[in-house]
Subunit: 198 residues, 2 copies
Amino acid sequence: MTTTFKVDTRTALLEAGKDIMFEKGYTNTGIQEVLNKVGVPKGSFYHYFNSKEDFALKLIEYTDEVCGAKSRRALTDSDVSPTERLMNYCLEGKNALSESKCRKGCFIGNLSQEMSDQSETLRKALSAKMFKWKELFALCIKEGQKVGEVSKAWPADKMAELFFSGWEGALMRAKTIKSVEPLNDFIDLMFNHILKAT
Amino acid sequence: MTTTFKVDTRTALLEAGKDIMFEKGYTNTGIQEVLNKVGVPKGSFYHYFNSKEDFALKLIEYTDEVCGAKSRRALTDSDVSPTERLMNYCLEGKNALSESKCRKGCFIGNLSQEMSDQSETLRKALSAKMFKWKELFALCIKEGQKVGEVSKAWPADKMAELFFSGWEGALMRAKTIKSVEPLNDFIDLMFNHILKAT
């Protein structure tokens, strides 16, 4: 029973931290706010996490696992074609942004922008996560090229980089202008022009 | 003489604020740190700025004017062709990022990512600045289409959106992985594929 309680408190702290840090960023997130939301004393927090930075490190893992699950499933769904996988990833992201009224965006992207120059520990963790996502995009593109669905004019790695950075930039633009139009433009050009086999 | 002194103190505060906020973000920037750098008392700050948010608003104007000058010149240089203007904009941005060892990135982009969900005042100012930059990209693309240098397969506005968000995303990626490779990939695909007239 104790184990169950421990796991639950840790998860509750991560869940509360995710909600707060996703919208407010790292610096703006106070540990006290997280504690208040969960209703546990400070000691509980330091039982599970060494510091705020350590909490953020665990949050990078947690949000990637929890929030990234649907997106990862979309990108690895062998029931549909490689470009459909990429499209489903985009539609899933667009839906999430619409549901949050163009707030939040991408946890990894937000933290990267804010913390890459502030914490080498977080930067390395974010960079490693990004590497894995880029690999997933590249795999779909490579497979798409193999089956003749995706243009072979450019190496899959380069296209995956543009897919990734274009999507992250479009999320940032959408957050700022509070409209999904940048995502629509990205999807339109990416699938009907850049990736398209000629 | 008094006027000259007043202008100088204000500019000194903005210059110090730009350096600090560019690298550390809005929340991480303390007014005291700015004051210490300039060597003036708190009263001076509140003589020129109503609040930290007001200071950030003025910094958005100031950095856009000062840091954006070279980029704006590149995009409006009628001595070179429209695509050369866009290319010079990218090369200028890549040089700036290399010189800062892949730190900082884009002031407007950083603040947008951090503050779009936190301050409606800052979000609107950032959104308005972005609108102007997108207009400059769109103008080059439109002119490029007119002279047959840029593909007419897509409306200039859509291409300008992808140019903008792709570039901002590539800057964020470059900051995180501490390499200009995402910018190189963006430039390569943008100029040799997406914009290219066929």
